[in-house]
């Protein structure tokens, strides 16, 4: 209980301090977590608790397994040892007046005026706000110039002109030790933009160690940790915010299980945090647990109906499950909330794609990309649309841009491979499939795609195909394509023993899932023949009898097989 109370107090102060320094997104994040902490029912009236909506139906449904795991540990706040003291605000009255004016300007987005008002101030807060608003002014100018100066062959390298002067000032402050953690955050931001990643990392670590509640600093730090090694090498103080950071960083490094464990631990304290729920959904999504993701998002939307963040992922799930009306409902809702968010455009694009109206879909994806050129999934999705429209060069281009933004995007690599395979260049496509498989070796679909590539009549490299299918079969191949193909390929290559093994396995799975279809018949037929050839007549008979349930030529074949079996049995063991 004390832990929760501590967190609450810390966050409360942090929200105030952060918004006082105009770090609004960080303060938004902190406030969200603040409300996400489970309230003590003794202290609050029912109206308050009602605010904490819908209870934890998800937890009841999905968390039972891990429940035991985290109750045994002393909840989330293990790492509490060094909670730094909250810095005092400087309180000179006159300075404060200027500060108030500057902050008002800042709130009205008049950044340069804010900078000007604070030109001679020396308080830490004032210095920070001056530099920060200068930075934002530069950023805004940069955005404008990007459009103004677009060269004939794409962008010219526009930079924030203020970076140099801000950096000079902040590095001076850091040298003589009169910089606070917010200043360090800004300094890290500037350094990152200037490309000196190592120094930026050091500075950001200093910042989060002295003031851990600034989520913006953490996320900047995360973006600088592109490998697990860099992440491990960070010298971070223990604090519960570190768990948030690590969970996030693990997720971005595609270590989904680790990340999930962290988040579930955190949920012990922040049991109503939308943020954590969304992150869990993200992790589950990459593990392709669509059912769970859907449940989480439904709950999330019930609690926070105007949320747009992460909703594109929800739309992907709905797309995959072909929920037309739910997707259109979602699209309508985000459209009304804020149509000029890349996520909104993406959701609408998904909807049109599901409807088969690919031109319109491309239009919305394009709009999403206009809003954010580095919006990874929009590039990939647009690639998919172009594939549907049979415009392969455009698809290739779109996928390639996704890959160049993030070389770890296995979906785009996969898309590239598919596009080339479509054009009848299977060998060329293999390069891309290899890339995608390398990045995500646990996805059976990728292995299957690669195997199919090897299997094409142009290449006909069956041994390689078998290897790929075997990998696919090992990693949770839901549709059991791999098993069937393995059986078939082995049969084709005349290795009936292996073929029988795989057919049998396939059959078992089909039986377990109660699936019917030509594959089942094929498996039964092969096994019947195989056992007959092996002289295991009883087994053969079982399969033949099962075949009799089906109509069509198989039935006749089974009958004749049975007759043969009977005959041979009679020959071997003449009836008494």
């Amino acid at each position: 209980m004390g832990i929760k109370e501590n967190c609450r107090n810390e966050l409360r102060a942090a929200v105030r301090q952060l918004s006082d320094r105009c770090l609004y997104s960080a303060s938004k994040w902190a406030a969200e977590q603040l409300v996400g902490i489970e309230q003590d029912p003794a202290k609050y009236t029912p109206s308050h608790t009602r605010f904490q909506r819908g209870s934890s139906s998800i937890r009841r449904r999905f968390r039972t397994a891990t429940e035991a795991a985290f109750t045994s540990t002393p909840a989330a706040g293990v790492s509490h040892l060094t909670t730094p003291s909250v810095p005092e605000d400087d309180n000179e009255a006159i300075d404060n007046d200027f500060y108030l004016l500057a902050k008002s300007y800042f709130d009205c987005q008049e950044y340069r005026r804010a900078t000007h008002v604070l030109r001679d101030q020396t308080g830490k807060k004032a210095v920070f706000l001056r530099c920060y608003s200068l930075y934002l002014a530069g950023e805004r100018r940069k955005e404008e110039e990007m459009i103004e100066l677009e060269g004939p062959l794409g962008k010219s390298d526009v930079v924030n002109h203020e970076l140099v002067s801000i950096e000079r000032e902040l590095s001076g402050l850091r040298k003589n030790g009169s910089i606070d953690s917010f200043g360090l955050y800004l300094y890290g931001l500037v350094l990152k933009q200037k490309g000196s990643d190592n120094l930026a990392r050091t500075v950001l670590v200093e910042s989060v160690n002295s003031y851990p509640w600034n989520w913006s600093a953490w996320s900047e730090l995360q973006s600088l940790c592109t490998t697990a090694e860099t992440l491990d090498s960070l010298n971070l103080n223990n604090h519960w915010m570190k768990d948030f950071f690590l969970a996030y960083a693990y997720q971005e490094l595609r270590m989904h299980t680790e990340s999930l464990v962290k988040y579930e631990n955190l949920q012990g304290t922040f049991s109503f945090s939308n943020y954590i729920q969304a992150q869990i959904a993200k992790a589950q999504y990459s593990r392709r647990e669509f059912e769970q993701v859907e449940v989480i998002f439904e709950e999330l939307l019930r609690n926070d109906p105007y949320r747009i963040e992460d909703m594109d992922m929800y739309s992907n799930v709905l797309y995959a499950k072909e929920c037309f009306s739910a997707l259109s409902y979602l699209a309508h809702r985000v459209f009304l909330t804020d149509k000029y968010r890349p996520e909104s455009c993406c959701i609408i694009g998904n909807y049109y794609s599901l409807k088969g109206q690919h031109e319109k879909s491309v239009m919305y994806f394009r709009r999403a990309l206009k809003l954010n050129k580095k919006y990874l999934s929009a590039w990939t999705l647009m690639g998919h649309e172009y594939v549907e429209m049979k415009n392969t060069p455009a698809a290739v281009d779109a996928y390639r841009r996704a890959v160049d933004i993030n070389p770890c995007d296995y979906r785009a690599w996969y898309g590239l491979g598919q596009a080339y395979e479509m054009m009848g260049m299977p060998f060329y496509a293999l390069h891309y499939f290899k890339k995608s498989v390398f990045l995500h070796p646990s996805d059976s679909r990728l292995w299957i795609a690669m195997a199919q590539c090897y299997e094409t009549e142009q290449l006909h490299m069956l041994e390689e195909a078998i290897k790929c299918y075997r990998r696919a079969a090992n990693c949770n191949d839901r549709e059991a394509i791999a098993l069937h193909q393995l059986a078939k390929l082995h049969a084709e290559l005349g290795r009936s023993e292996e073929a029988a093994f795989y057919y049998k396995k396939d059959l078992e799975i089909m039986e377990a899932e109660e699936r019917e279809g030509p594959n089942l018949v094929e498996a039964l037929m092969f096994l019947a023949r195989y056992y007959k050839a092996q002289k295991r007549f009883e087994d053969a008979e079982v399969y033949c009898t099962r075949l009799l349930d089906y109509s069509g030529p198989e039935k006749e074949t089974a009958k004749s097989l049975l007759r043969g079996i009977r005959y041979e049995m009679d020959v071997e063991h003449p009836p008494p």
């Binding site: 002109h161 415009n391 054009m423 060329y428 290449l459």
Partner: protein, 880 residues
């Protein structure tokens, strides 16, 4: 925000042209050059020559492609100084004054308004003789018009940006400019010069150049991607070394180190991104083309990192210029960086769809179908695998390229692909085709499936040649003829159909065919004789001209009259680069290199030497370093064989210095060969074995790749074993070597191996067993016309006979005498010595011959032999 980026598959109006401070400067100078309504020699100029010089200079500025960035003001001023002579001050002052007078957007508007005035009207037929009017359709006229148009299209914000940029542009050069200005005013107070007699008609030059430009644009369409196929021809070719990698200014990315973060100087903030402007698209494309040529020519000695950083800058400034990726690919390819090369070639083709080769006019007009041209990607990828020595992958990819080209009806790509496959088949030992080509390439399947690799190669060669001829791909035709010559040299043509009554088959090669193919290949140059000057891309021309301005003028200082140099510059403009494209020269050169090899085979050492020498002297400029190294290697080996090791090592030393920068070069190989021979001759077997092992390591481990080196290493190994009297081991090595040669059907090498067997038997004292081998080798030599090898086989045969007993001495002597003309005329020192000694032995063995009667008959050959052997530093001859 992302107009171009959001439209995959389409590139933005590629010819887009933006106004930059540098272009503004050129406009100002053009205004000086062609002031409205002036007399024939306008105000600041004192002579027509001077006036023309400025015109040429401006023309070159708009065209040259020496760098990706536009020059800074101080660079421009210093160039102006080179051509301005006494006018230098006036011109640069005028420029600075004009530029600094641009203080408000309105000034810019006014300037461009005035600029319009210097253009003549389109109907200005009534022209005064003396009046200078800029023809609107001349090069400079077009330039001015483009500037005007671009300025008119600018938004107000963009005009403001231009103004800021101009201010930065002036400020950056201010200090240097002031310095140089004062510096110069003291020294340059000579009298003006008068070169009125020089009347280069500017207008004519411009017109001509314009035609050149249009032709260049048309011609370039396919040639860009030819960079990969060009490698087809490479291995039998030549190239030269232009000393000194290009010195280029490299903008290093400003990495802020932790310690330096506090000590920024002011210049850092001034050095805003507006400092660097890309040249026009056309110029950059020209630059990239030139660099591509240089990379291919210089191979691994091309400065990898320097160029890489230029490319990175370019990528940052023009992310939609996808060709950069191709250059990165080429760069890493020639530096043997497999992964980067693979990555970049895929990236390039993903972005460009193989259709960017024609984009600098307009991407949509040239009929790039909606499919893109991914078959070119396959072709290039295949060539990449070929380069890295992955025959299996290369074959797979090229097969796919054949299929896709057929589907897409891309005939020229198909022709190149077939040529590439031929190259692959002839270069690498592909013993087992696994039905790869057979299954997909239908014309081949129709002939029959039981084709050997060599027969398949023959069929493919013929088809590829025919295809190239019908498509009028001149260079490809030439290189196909070369490939054909190579086939004729090393392979017997067997009839493709092997059923029916066997007609009298003559299993032999035909040197006349080789000769014919070579001559046909050289016809290529005739195509370019008529077109002479028109083939030069004038961008390169202008680049050269501008570069010459910068050359140190050491000699000029000592020349009597200073003004002379302006004069020479003007003439240089017309008398510059050779008019035949480099790739053609390269092909032509390779035919000479090939001739040298052919004569080596046929056994005429003077002709071989002559051709190699011809290559090394005449084609050094246009050849690649690798091929040049090959030619040098050949020459050094000739030296070793005919003049002994001393001279060869001296030459080797020179060559090593010259090719220092090549990582895996022919020179290295030659060095090992020489050292090995030397060690073998001096009897240092241990060292010889070590060198032989080193030689073997040079070859790739992939089966079928670098066969020549592998064969050579085994041969040398066997020789060492013979020298060490370990005959059974030597025989084992020879046997496995024979199997390998048979597997990859290396018939010429087989003759050598058979001779080796004969040698082993001879040395082990089993002369009777050796004779069949010698005879077999002889018949191989006969059918392949290997005269020198035949002579040496005859010699071995004679030795074998001789060792059977003195009764065969007469026969042996006859054999030797029959082979003497070739042995003495073309054989190396060792062979000659062996022949002389055997001759002497024959005489001695002959019972009818007495030494006391005719001592000279024996002594003379022995003396000769000892002289030859001395040159070779042989410590002991034979095992006697």
């Amino acid at each position: 925000m992302s107009g171009a980026a959001a439209m995959p598959g389409l590139s933005k109006a590629a010819g887009a042209f933006t106004i930059t401070p540098h272009k503004l400067s050129i406009c100002i100078l053009i205004q000086v050059y062609a002031p409205p309504s002036q007399t024939s020699v306008p105000f600041p100029f004192s002579s027509v020559a001077q006036h023309n010089l400025l015109g040429s200079f401006l023309l070159s500025l708009t065209k040259s492609s020496e760098d990706i960035f536009e020059p800074k003001l101080d660079e421009l001023v210093s160039q102006l100084k080179e051509i301005g002579g006494v006018l230098n001050h006036w011109l640069s002052d005028h420029l600075a004054r004009k530029l600094s007078s641009l203080a408000s957007p309105d000034d810019l508007f006014n300037f461009f308004n005035d600029l319009r005035g210097i253009l003549g009207g389109s109907d200005s037929n009534v022209m005064d003789d003396d009046q200078i009017i800029l023809d609107p359709s001349s090069n400079l006229g077009v330039f001015v018009r483009r500037c005007l148009l671009a300025f008119n299209l600018l938004s107000f914000e963009a005009v403001c940006h231009l103004l800021t940029n101009v201010a930065t542009y002036c400020k950056e050069s201010l200090s240097t400019y002031e310095l140089s200005h004062f510096d110069d005013s003291d020294s340059d107070t000579e009298a003006p010069m008068h070169y009125e007699n020089m009347d280069l008609e500017n207008l004519v030059v411009e017109k001509v150049n314009k035609e050149i430009e249009s032709r260049y644009v048309v011609d370039d369409r396919f040639s860009f991607h030819n960079h990969a196929p060009k490698a087809l021809v490479r291995a039998d070719e030549d190239r030269d070394f232009s000393p000194g990698p290009q010195v280029r200014k490299i903008n290093k990315p400003r990495e802020v180190s932790a310690c330096a973060s506090s000590s920024y100087d002011v210049s850092d903030s001034v050095d805003s991104p507006s400092g660097d402007f890309l040249r026009t698209n056309w110029q950059i494309q020209g630059y990239l083309l030139e660099q591509a040529d240089t990379i291919e020519r210089q191979g691994s000695s091309f400065p990898l990192n320097a160029f890489e950083s230029v490319l990175k800058d370019l990528l940052k400034l023009a992310p939609e210029l996808h060709r950069v990726h191709f250059l990165r690919y080429l760069n890493s390819l020639y530096h043997q960086d497999y992964h980067t090369a693979l990555e970049n070639i895929h990236r390039y083709f993903d972005y460009s769809a193989g259709a960017e080769g024609c984009d600098f006019v307009s991407s949509s007009s040239t009929g790039c179908n909606s499919f893109g041209r991914y078959e070119i990607a396959l072709l290039c990828l295949g060539m990449m695998h070929f380069h890295f020595g992955h025959p299996d992958q290369a074959l797979e990819v090229l097969t796919e390229a054949v299929r896709v080209s057929q589907q897409q009806n891309n005939d020229s790509c198909l022709a190149y692909t077939l040529a590439a496959i031929c190259k692959l088949l002839s270069e690498f030992g592909v013993s087992n085709m696994r039905g790869l080509i057979g299954s997909s390439y239908s014309p081949v399947t129709s002939i029959g499936t039981a084709l050997s690799t060599q027969q398949l190669l023959y069929v493919l060669l013929r088809r590829s040649l025919k295809r190239a001829e019908s498509l009028k791909l001149k260079r490809l035709v030439a290189s196909n003829h070369l490939a054909m010559a190579k086939f004729d040299l090393t392979q017997v043509q067997r009839p493709l159909l092997s059923f029916g009554p066997k007609a009298s088959m003559k299993l032999a090669t035909f040197p006349s065919n080789v000769c014919k193919e070579l001559r046909l290949s050289s016809h290529l140059i005739n195509e370019y004789v008529d077109e002479a000057l028109l083939m030069i891309p004038d961008g390169a021309f202008c680049t050269q001209w501008i570069k010459n301005l910068k050359k140190p003028k050491g000699s000029v200082i000592f020349s009597q009259e200073n003004e002379c140099r302006n004069n020479t510059n003007a003439f240089q403009f017309c008398g510059q680069p050779c008019s035949i494209p480099g790739s053609v020269l390269q092909l032509l050169g390779s035919s000479y290199l090939f001739r040298a090899t052919a004569w080596e085979f046929y056994g005429s050492s003077p002709l071989a030497r002559m051709n190699a020498l011809l290559y090394a002297t005449c084609f050094a400029d246009s050849s690649s370093l690798d091929d040049l190294a090959l030619a040098y290697g050949k020459l050094i080996q000739y030296l070793a064989v005919f003049k002994g090791y001393k001279e060869a090592f001296a030459a080797l030393k020179l060559a090593e210095e010259k090719f220092l920068s090549l990582s895996k070069s022919q020179i290295q190989l030659v060095k090992l060969q020489l050292l090995h021979d030397h060690a073998l001759h001096t009897g240092n077997l241990k060292l010889a074995q070590q060198l032989c092992d080193e030689l073997g390591v040079l070859a790739s481990s992939v089966a079928g790749v670098d066969i020549e080196i592998k064969v050579e290493a085994s041969l040398r190994h066997a020789r060492i074993l013979i020298a060490a009297n370990q005959f059974s081991q030597a025989a084992a090595v020879a046997r496995s070597l024979f199997c390998m040669c048979y597997k990859f059907s290396l018939q010429v090498e087989n003759a050598t191996v058979l001779l080796l067997f004969a040698e082993i038997h001879k040395r082990s004292g089993n002369a009777v067993l050796g004779i069949p081998y010698a005879l077999a080798s002889l018949s191989f030599c006969k059918s392949f016309n290997l005269d020198l090898l035949k002579a040496s086989a005859t010699l071995t045969l004679a030795e074998l006979w001789l060792s059977l007993g003195s009764s065969h001495a007469k026969r042996a002597l006859d054999l030797i005498h029959g082979a003497f003309p070739v042995l003495l005329g073309h054989g190396g020192l060792e062979l000659r010595a062996r022949a002389f000694i055997t001759e002497a032995k024959c005489y001695l063995a002959d019972s009818n011959f007495s030494v006391s009667e005719e001592p000279e008959m024996v002594l003379e050959p022995l003396r000769q032999a000892s002289e030859d052997l001395e040159l070779l530093e042989v410590s002991q001859y034979g095992n006697k």
